[in-house]
Amino acid sequence: MTIENLDNDQIILATGGYDHTIKLWQTHSGICNRTVQHADSQVNDLEITPDRHLLAAASYQHIYMYDLTSNNPNAIVNYEGTSKNVTSVGFQQDGKWMYSGGEDCRARIWDLRSRNNQCPKIFEVQSAINCTCLHPNQVELFVGDQNGIIYRWDLRTDNNEQLIPENDAMILDIDISPDSNLMASVNNKGRCYIWSLETGLGDIATKLTPRHKFEAHKRHALKCKFSPDSRLLVTTSADQTARIWCSETFILLQELKQENQRWVWDAAFSGDGQYVFTASSDGYAKLWNVKTGAMERDYASHQKAVVALAFKDVP
């Protein structure tokens, strides 16, 4: 993908997984237009910077950044110093800093404004971190760990608050709706928990009130994501399906299922919530029509499981 391409076609879909490659796709044709080698490790999570210039890949002990504006096959930045797998990565909305969570029980803030990470921040928990999610207000980071605890880490004050939705269950993913009214969390028992969020004024922290709990899947639920309009919630699971729920009534709207697609690891909505991408262990990324539940495209060329995808639509 060149700079011209970016200007013309700013839709970016990146996928990665266990075959040590990251692929960039032409979304409407299903053609892979770039493959970068990610030789050191599997890809745990992918995220595109807000300016669409870089792709961050969370991997074992490193976060690598790839340049999306050139054809440079090598990573251009290597964030190192974590001792185990980095499981999740994300960006502040202006690209000022990057957050990450990892199996070394630490959530980190990486200062991206200067070249040398001048103002790092670290938050340590009791067990491996599975997921992180930044509140749309950009000052509260939610961290989920293997002990089943959700931490609300206030980045300004470093205070934290803990939630334990269920004993003996791992928190596998957390998401906050873009309108910041709801928070969803899924665990390894397939359950999904929903909180209502009440935004505090000024320095007052967000207040969380448990709202709903439902059996989203029979086995591990791996990811949950709200649609950009906050009306839908997609959950993915080891039961070989992804499910789309109404975020008001939590009624099942669609089940995205295909024979032998194996574990569905990740999902992302299109900018208007009409389509959803999924990544699965059968080596495919797939594009589904939310209204009909039909698969409209598949993206084939990974040799092993696809566990992470990053998607940036053009509004």
């Binding site: 700013q10 839709i11 075959d19 040590h20 490659t21 692929k23 979304t27 409407h28 044709s29 299903g30 053609i31 892979c32 493959t35 080698q37 990610h38 090598n74 251009i76 930045v77 290597n78 190192e80 110093g81 000022k96 800093w97 980190r108 990486w110 200062d111 404004r113 070249r115 040398n116 001048q118 103002c119 790092p120 921040k121 749309p136 207000n137 950009q138 000052v139 980045l155 300004r156 873009p178 309108d179 910041s180 000024g202 950009p228 309009d229 299109s270 900018g271 208007d272 009409q274 389509y275 080596g283 594009l287 409209e296 084939a300 060329s301 990974h302 040799q303 639509d313 053009v314 509004p315």
Partner: protein
Amino acid sequence: MALYDNKYWLLSHIRNSFISTDDTGMCELVMAGEGKDIKFHLSNMELYPDPEDSDDEEDDFESYDLPLDMDFSTRERSSTKVQLEKLDQARKKVGRMRHIRWETRNKNAPDEECSNMFVKKEVKPKKEHTSKLSALMKNCLNVPRNPYIEYAKFDGSGQVNVPVKKYKMYITMLPQHQRNYPMHISCVANAKIQDLIGLILLKFSSTQEASGINLKSVSQYGLYITEEDGEVDRDFPCLDPKEPVSKFGFSTLGLVEHKDVAKTVNFPEDYQSVSILESNRTRTLSDKSKADENRQMENDIQAVEEHNKLMEAPLYKSFRAHMLSKVKPKVEVSIGVSGERIEIDPVPQKSSKLLPFKQKAVSHPIDTIAWCEITDVKHTRSCFRLVYSAMSSHNVQQGEVSALSSASSYPPTLHSSASFKHYDFESDNKTAQDIVQKIRLILELKSTASREKYMAAREKKTKKKNINFIK
């Protein structure tokens, strides 16, 4: 023999000896890591001080041939090498990764910098809209899916830790002038040949060149062994589509559309297809020979008119016969006769591997054919002889299949009748008659220079004979 116990002298001597004999530069590398002590002594003006203040009277510590040069650790290098190194370093610099290590917060960092990192943002409601992806998908609703997309998973480019095979691929469906460069294809090693074909078609279909070409299903194509220059070797059957690519070692292949599926796919084992060919049907020539055909047609419009008069003579027909030779056993061959060329292909036998030799497939442009006649008629079998000009057939053997564009471009340089060679065949009477008649008709139509020369030579010979006889 002399005995020395001054270690600095010995060291110097060894160094000199090494440097003067070692062309690999390895000793330089090793000596680069020498200790401070040695360096000090080597650069010391007072050479080789006796470590224990011995009364060694020797003054001449130098090795005999080489004056000790203090600058010997750097060898003069060619400017190209220096330049190359510079380029290499520049490239590395460009490709260098920036490493950012996690460090705990620097206490000197201004607090203000850090405090304005976390600014609370107002969450604004989003507007309803149609995203670009949805718009694109809507536009592409009726665009057919690339039929080869399922083969994308065999793409080997960019794979890590997966064995891949790389190929140079010539796409023979392209017109000649676009076929100068091969397509580079990388394929995972566990794919089958048919998967590789699908992958080629997928890659090819997304290129500009493919726009004018109607691509068909994967089974309609075959991969053939191909020369580095793109010359497809049709003497071999196409690679078996069911076999894994790792079974074959070839790195240059040609993708060929099957014109006659029955013939190309089952060529080696099953010769049923000959009957199809024998049913006097025209054979669609390969693209290349088609081009040649066109060229020849232009050069010889008259011949084309003649073709129309005697329609069936130049049409391709295949015959079966046995090739005779004084030194080799009989070999069953198929003789393909057309207005352009005569092809002699050995018929693969079940036991062909056991034969001590293999008849090569040969092809002679019709311009090189001089004569054809029946030499012997037996009860059921006839022998016949095909005479050709050896001069031009030499080119054929070098792999040049192209017909001579016109006879005049290759003036027959026949100094004697020895320039003519011949094949002897044996077949049943009917076939022999058919072949001879057909070839004669074609020769008459074409009136090739080889034939004229041959006829002239023969006439001369008979005249000579007659003269001798008169004498």
